[in-house]
Symmetry: C2
């Protein structure tokens, strides 16, 4: 029987705020994106990664790593985006097993159309709510947190 170190009041406040902020924001962003562009938040994130990548293409596995979804979840979403004509698949030259997801021109346009409203809401919900100092602490602190969490995956 080990002694459990429960959370004190401040720790509990931080933990609850973290949890609540995470899901509330995610939910609102998803709703805004769907409403304005028909994309879900996961789909939007896929398009962003592809747009940032050289030639607008990435291996499925690379995508799955940076996104926080399972491999099968990614397969599903990429298929949806493919049906919508926003992404195409092509086989990887260096590895026959590999598949590259490529951003199409329509995909790039949809992303450009979606980005302003999305960014505006991110500002409104998170960035502009915080002082520059808070923002810096948050970036450092949560950067370290996510590095460690990612290491356990």
């Amino acid at each position: 029987m080990e002694a459990v170190k429960w959370l004190d009041e401040d720790e509990m406040r931080a933990w609850h705020a973290f949890l609540a902020a995470g899901s509330l924001i995610d939910r609102l962003l998803d709703a805004q994106l769907k409403e304005a562009t028909g994309l879900s938040h996961p789909q939007y994130e896929i398009l962003v990664r592809l747009a940032d990548a050289p030639d607008g293409e990435l291996r499925m596995t690379e995508l799955a790593d940076t996104l926080l979804t399972s491999k099968s979840g990614l397969t599903y979403q990429v298929t949806q985006l493919e049906k919508a004509g926003l992404v195409a698949r092509r086989s990887c030259p260096s590895d026959v097993r590999g598949v590259l997801a490529v951003l199409t021109e329509a995909g790039r346009q949809r992303l450009e159309q979606a980005a302003p409203g999305h960014v505006a809401l991110v500002r409104e919900l998170l960035i502009d709510v915080l002082s520059p100092g808070q923002l810096a602490v948050l970036a450092d602190a949560l950067g370290e947190v996510s590095r460690r969490a990612a290491a356990r995956t």
Copy 2:
């Protein structure tokens, strides 16, 4: 046509860290809970709210408000918990339409069994990674963020 205020590098870092930390931690907590106790994270949260409430019972709507799930999602999860014998439903005395979810003795025991491992992981992933100062800033900052986000719901 409005000028879009894009995110600068620091803002982007904060935003990405926030997103990544949120989903990584949620995923790890869910895995730990399932592995150790068979509860999902949403289910665990339901038990916690009930345990904190007077008489271990809450209206469905009250539960749905503090949790970050839809009403139908809550109905589903409470049904699962009911099947497992951890929660019971009883009708609300003051409003015939209402339903009270009540924590059973088995539910309380399961929660007590689950809590230490859960809290330990929350510490390991978040609380103990941060300095007290960072923790305080995080609580303040994200507290305000979630208050505002909740106001938009």
